[in-house]
């Protein structure tokens, strides 16, 4: 049913508000908020480390640096690869995008694998005092973000095979790659806090 009402004169231009296209704004707000959780964990870590009467558990002298350093290099470079993938997409080179994007995913997976190896070789556990607790909490929470990032990238990769999907823009890819840089920056801070500051 429509009611036409010609009696009402119209002296204005009807305004219109876009329903969609706000994803990037929302996602950036989300990332700001998410970074605060890490900030809380980092602050807690620093406070406990500076004030705890017994920091290292017995029989533990600190952390091995080599493996995490390789991991760091892989993760940091993967951010550049993700950026290259984005550039390809921007130039509508879909295969270039897919290959670089897949490479990013592989590098991310390597990071998770390296983390797994490191965890399984450590002499202390989650319940080994504040040192063990903070170590596993921080690396574990970050690791969850890496895994989430890889899964999201997989989703974007699949979507790139849907015909015409990226013709109207690539908001999802932009968001995911933003997330990836975020995970990367968090790792750098974490690496400095946990491995360099011993």
């Amino acid at each position: 049913m429509t009611i036409t009402n010609p009696e009402i004169p119209l002296n204005h231009t009807p305004g219109h508000i876009k329903h969609d296209g706000h994803n990037l704004t929302g996602f950036i707000i989300f990332l700001c908020s998410e970074s605060i959780i890490f900030l809380a964990f980092f602050t807690g870590y620093a406070v406990l480390k500076l004030t705890s009467p017994e920091w290292l558990p017995q029989g533990v002298n600190g952390l091995e640096l080599k493996m995490p350093l390789i991991n760091t290099i892989v993760l940091v470079s993967s951010s550049f690869v993700a950026y290259i993938a984005e550039r390809y997409l921007h130039k509508s080179n879909l295969w270039g995008f897919r290959i670089a994007w897949l490479l990013t995913m592989i590098m991310g997976s390597y990071f998770v694998y390296g983390q797994y190896i490191e965890w399984s070789e450590l002499a202390f556990g989650l319940d080994s005092g504040v040192f063990g607790g903070t170590f596993y909490l921080l690396t574990g929470f970050h690791g969850l973000h890496v895994i989430t990032g890889i899964l999201l990238m997989g989703l974007m990769l699949v979507r790139s095979f849907l015909p015409g999907n990226y013709e109207k823009g690539e908001m999802g890819v932009t968001s995911v790659s933003l997330f990836w840089h975020f995970v990367d920056v968090i790792w750098i801070i974490l690496f400095i806090l946990i491995y360099i500051w011993q």
Partner: protein
């Protein structure tokens, strides 16, 4: 003339109207319309107000006599903890999100929220964590009993040694509530930033939108800290870590910092929207523009910023070093400045206005009066030498109930009455509303005013039994509490009967100025749909004879004919 092919003179077929009592089934579905979600939030929150109120009745029943005779002290601890938790996480936060859902899109002229599905998901988390919290009454060992602060080492005691225990469920529920709040905050902030009507610059937004924005910014910046701290608490409780256990090198005071870094600002998340409601309602019922609009708007963000740097005033007696106490005493006093500015603005608005004392205005005036009182006790508490004496006594309980009940709940009721016709399409009964106000004001004053004396005499909070010398204050308080219980009857009657068969509401029963009042009552699903008005003047133009939007006559007619 119209430049698009869409002819706004064609009124579309009436959409299912969100607030109308018909078709009630959609309130029980995953509906993505902000106005349906708003009502879902408000109704379920009011249900939990009754639950929390019932717990309060038992607490006050216990406290009417000095010995612990009505309930066992252990049970009392659980009831006390759950009362605070239910009121904050199941009543106040959800009800304010309900207001946000109804008011933000309609006030800025948006068709809906920026992310409608996320919005519905945020709401449907409420019944999930509500169920978890309520389930904790039935697990062995009972619900969490360490107070709403949940401070370790108390909260880390798990005498029965079970994995699923009251405290564990409590932390889980609070964490889920945090996720729901973050989803909400992302939505509200994005909507305010990106979906305002043409012509509505930031300094033409109604103050409610400013305060909601400022409050949601606090959620985004401070809530994750509590989430982080709560995750660590859960690990200590359930997975053998020792972040807060001194015997394993941990630090229990660290938790206090995490907790108050959020929970102080959280009180401003609650009160800022109430400042918004005051700023909307006073001009309408005194027929004058809001005094000092721009300053009031900016003061909201000043409060946001300051609220993030005062939290240690809750920890003056937690072994806090003297320099830190001094520092936080000063910052806490500073926050009274933007708050005071707002109070002056409201008084300036009322000054020589033509006051119309209907229910929303009465609740706002009562709330403002109580808030001034609460601000004074707040400043007293911020003074370290006073606080070390009255900290953890009933004086603190009196202070924060003066803000949370006597100001915030008053504002909530004012808002419910004021916007009731808009979103349900029905008028409420003024007589019942006035009875509700009178009973509430008397009950609240009897309940919370005497607690100041009990506290000054040294009555400790959170204890089921007390010295007989405090008896008189407690008897008065309990009588007040029962009057508050009775006050809910006219309110419930009014809401149900008006919504079901109250007189039909016109689009603008209070002759208020604002985009929401240019919509039909209740507004259709997409608000202004594809014909959003262009804002040409600031809000609150009472008595100024300046139209709010281009071609205002047209929108008024359109709303009336719908």
């Amino acid at each position: 003339m119209s430049t698009s092919n869409y002819d706004p003179r064609i009124l579309k077929a009436p959409h299912p109207v969100p607030g109308a009592p018909d078709n009630w089934k959609r309130f029980f579905s995953f509906n993505t319309d902000a106005k349906v979600i708003g009502i879902q939030y408000i109704v379920s929150a009011l249900f939990f107000l009754l639950v929390g109120g019932l717990l309060a009745m038992v607490i006050r029943g216990e406290l009417i006599t000095p010995p612990a005779d009505l309930v066992d002290p252990t049970v009392y601890n659980g009831l006390n903890t759950m009362h605070g938790t239910v009121m904050l996480f199941l009543f106040l936060f959800p009800i304010l999100n309900g207001f946000n859902n109804l008011l933000i899109p309609t006030m800025i002229g948006a068709p809906d929220m920026a992310f409608p599905k996320l919005n519905a998901a945020a709401f449907w988390l409420v019944p999930v964590f509500a169920t978890i919290l309520m389930a904790s009454f039935f697990v062995p060992g009972g619900p969490a009993s360490s107070g709403w602060w949940s401070y370790p080492p108390m909260s880390l005691q798990n005498p029965l040694g079970r994995f699923i225990n009251g405290e564990m469920l409590w932390i889980t529920a609070v964490a889920l509530s945090g996720i729901s709040s973050i989803f909400g905050a992302i939505n509200f902030v994005t909507t305010i930033i990106r979906m305002r009507a043409p012509g509505m610059g930031f300094f033409r937004m109604p103050i409610y939108v400013w305060t909601a924005w400022a409050a949601q910014t606090i959620q985004l910046l401070a809530l994750p800290v509590l989430t982080g701290g709560a995750i660590m608490l859960l690990f200590d409780l359930s997975f053998g870590t020792t972040f807060y256990r001194p015997e394993g090198g941990g630090d229990p005071v660290l938790y206090q910092h995490f907790f108050w870094f959020y929970s102080h600002p959280a009180v401003y998340v609650l009160v800022l929207p109430i400042f918004g409601i005051f700023s909307e309602i006073f001009p309408v019922y005194s027929r004058k523009p809001l005094f000092g609009y721009k300053v009031v708007a900016l003061a909201s963000f000043a409060i946001t910023a300051l609220s993030l740097i005062v939290w240690v005033h809750h920890m003056f007696y937690s072994g806090t070093p003297q320099w830190m106490r001094n520092l936080f005493m000063v910052t806490t006093m500073l926050i009274a400045v933007p708050t005071g500015i707002k109070v002056f603005a409201w008084i300036g608005t009322l000054w020589r206005g033509k006051l119309r004392l209907s229910t929303p205005m009465l609740f706002c005036l009562g709330g403002l009066f109580n808030f001034i009182f609460a601000g004074i006790t707040g400043i007293m508490l911020a003074t370290v030498p006073i606080d070390v004496h009255v900290g953890n006594t009933y004086f603190v309980v009196a202070h924060f109930h003066y803000v949370i009940f006597n100001t915030i709940c008053f504002g909530v009721f004012a808002g419910i009455y004021h916007w009731f016709p808009k979103f349900t399409g029905r008028m409420y009964y003024e007589g019942l509303g006035k009875i509700h106000f009178v009973l509430t004001f008397i009950g609240a004053t009897l309940n919370f005013l005497p607690l100041h004396w009990a506290g000054l005499l040294g009555m400790p909070r959170r204890v089921a039994s007390y010295d007989p010398e405090f008896a008189i204050w407690n008897v008065i308080a309990s009588i007040g509490a029962f009057i508050l219980g009775v006050a809910s009857i006219p309110f419930i009657l009014n809401m149900i009967s008006s919504w079901a068969r109250g007189p039909k509401a016109p689009p603008n029963p209070w002759k208020a100025i604002g985009l929401e009042w240019l919509l039909p009552s209740p507004p259709p699903a997409e608000n202004f749909e594809d014909d959003i008005p262009t804002v040409i003047n600031g809000p609150y133009g009472y008595g100024l004879n300046k139209p709010l939007v281009e071609d205002e006559e047209y929108y008024i007619k359109r709303a009336q004919e719908a």
